[in-house]
């Protein structure tokens, strides 16, 4: 476990925060850190800006993220990592399809290799990083396309050499099953699952024997084809299967 001092702390949207701090190792696009808030919990967080001071971007949804959102410049932040495999750098026309906090893991790539950014939100006031978004959807139609970002993406119907997707698993599952695979070159998904160890030994993040933390987080479209648990079975903290839908 390492620690660093927070270089800057910003609120960038409704319940949405950025913390920046310097770390002592190189991070690649798509990788995540395990962030420990002593006295609370340790949670995975994507790195949304790779250069020191690196940045994490998160929504305050529970006790740990809420505590993180109260942290200020100069305070200590504890972390380990970076962990996980990485997105390959895109070579052609790229699309980025994000849902909610999933945008965080795509940001580094978007900055390195601009492309079309599709962003799905619940409602208008959830918008963050609006300046880099090309196509936006909201569930309630208060901003952009009314509906989910997958349907927006399909409606736009553009061709891409590489597509990068990150968001809630149901959204990624829907994307995976709905899109016309032949229209795109490579499609990469960065998965999110309950993580306890972050380093591939506790099995709590596994989908069909693939550990999201270690074999992923980034998987290709065709790998997901073979994972019948993807989008259908998630795991409780106990490891108990929770069947979706």
């Amino acid at each position: 476990m390492k620690f660093s001092e927070i270089a800057s702390a910003k609120k960038i949207g409704k319940d949405f925060f950025e913390l920046s701090f310097s770390i002592d190792s190189e991070v690649k696009p798509g990788q995540f850190l395990m962030i420990w808030v002593p006295g609370v919990k340790e949670i995975p967080m994507s790195v949304s800006n790779l250069k020191n001071p690196i940045t994490i971007s998160f929504k305050a949804i529970g006790e740990t993220t809420r505590k993180l959102s109260t942290m200020r410049e100069g305070q200590r932040i504890f972390y380990r990592g970076p962990y996980g495999n990485t997105f390959p750098e895109p070579k052609g026309r790229a699309a980025y399809v994000a849902g909610g906090t999933g945008i965080a893991s795509l940001l580094p790539l978007i900055r390195i290799h601009p492309g079309d950014v599709y962003y799905g939100l619940r409602t208008a006031e959830d918008i963050v990083y609006g300046e880099i978004v090309n196509f936006v959807s909201t569930d309630d139609g208060t901003l952009g396309f009314k509906g989910n970002v997958v349907d927006l993406f399909i409606k736009e119907d553009k061709e891409y050499d590489e597509v990068f997707v990150c968001g809630p698993e149901p959204m990624m599952k829907y994307f995976h099953d709905k899109i016309d695979r032949r229209k795109y070159g490579k499609i990469y998904y960065s998965l999110e699952r309950l993580m306890k160890c972050g380093v591939g030994i506790c099995d709590s993040c596994s989908i069909n024997g693939f550990r999201v933390c270690k074999d992923g987080t980034v998987f290709e479209h065709e790998q997901l084809d073979m994972m019948d648990e993807f989008g259908t079975v998630r795991r409780a903290e106990s490891g108990r299967r929770i069947f979706l839908k």
């Binding site: 395990m34 993580m195 380093v199 030994i201 099995d203 270690k214 106990s238 490891g239 108990r240």
Partner: protein, 298 residues
């Protein structure tokens, strides 16, 4: 080169097994270990009821290994059975179970037997959960009772996994005489401290120490127990290379289990160790694995 090994009458293609609790909560991961070359794989320990386990941090990396306090997270026997019953690799899957008394252990064992598994490993040794694991396993009478009960009332092969956190492990091993094999050792009770947060490294404070740092302790346990009881032993604790595995085997282990090394070397560890053992036997002029089991003690 024949590196198969026979434990309590059951033959395994190679002596390198996956230890309980490391990437073995889900069936597919257990099967992945076997397909990656593990001679057998032990599941995460399963209890009667679902337990979420402790909040993260549940592991803390050390220069000499790792400490963990997962807290016996498990889905409970019902969901476990439901997920694992379909496996075609049941001969190579050993189900680890934990309970607070012989009744619980027996109930779990029967469920496991019902769906076709052949072997259970008794977790008498997890050091960080009240009322289970080492709290059961440090009591020779309780250990004996549990094993007798399981041997009398099931047809399962019973492996008893013992804790090193006792004054005389040989006494516990003798209490476990009725088991088909002994698994030595589980993690060593330990603590990690973060001086910059002035908090324990793990949410639970106390954890179990595994990895290279406990190997010398595990070797001592294997040697003492093998010399004093002659029982069939599976060695575990800090094995990250074929050299480590051979150390255990020379002291009497018929097989080894690998846990924390997955963190260092991932699933390839199984083939790496098996291949290393083959090369060693060839280089040193042995005919097969059998020849070196307990060679330094006999």
């Amino acid at each position: 080169m024949d590196i198969s090994t026979v434990i309590a009458g059951t033959r395994f293609d190679n002596p390198v097994f996956l230890a309980s609790g490391i990437v073995d909560e889900t069936l597919k991961s257990v099967e992945r270990a076997i397909k990656s070359g593990a001679g057998a794989a032990v599941t995460k320990s399963i209890g009667k009821d679902e337990r979420p386990g402790y909040a993260p941090p549940i592991i803390s990396e050390l220069p000499t290994g790792m400490i963990n306090a997962v807290g016996l997270a498990n889905p409970g026997i019902d969901d476990f059975i439901d997920e694992f019953r379909t496996s075609k690799l049941k001969e190579k899957i050993v189900v680890s179970i934990f309970g607070k008394d012989s009744e619980e252990f027996l109930e779990l064992a029967k469920r496991v037997q019902e769906v076709g598994f052949k072997t259970v490993e008794l977790n008498l040794s997890c050091p960080h959960v009240k009322g289970y694991g080492s709290e059961v396993g440090e009591d020779p009478d309780l250990v004996e009772e549990i094993i007798t009960e399981l041997k009398n009332k099931t047809n399962l092969k019973v492996w008893a996994k013992l804790t090193p956190n006792v004054t005389h492990i040989v006494d516990i091993a003798k209490a476990a005489e009725g088991a088909d094999a002994l698994v030595l050792i589980n993690t060593v009770k330990a603590i990690g401290v973060n001086i910059w947060a002035r908090k324990f490294s793990l949410t639970n404070g106390i954890g179990g120490y595994s990895g290279p740092g406990i190997k010398p302790i595990a070797l001592r346990a294997v040697y003492d127990v093998y010399r004093e009881t002659g029982k069939e032993i599976i060695g575990v604790g800090g094995i990250t290379s074929y050299e480590d595995a051979i150390e255990f085997i020379l002291l009497g282990a018929k097989a080894v289990q690998v846990g924390t090394a997955i963190y260092y070397k991932d699933f390839q560890i199984f083939n790496e160790i098996s291949q290393g053992i083959i090369n060693y036997l060839e280089k040193e002029g042995f005919e097969n694995l059998q020849e070196i089991i307990g060679l330094m003690v006999r």
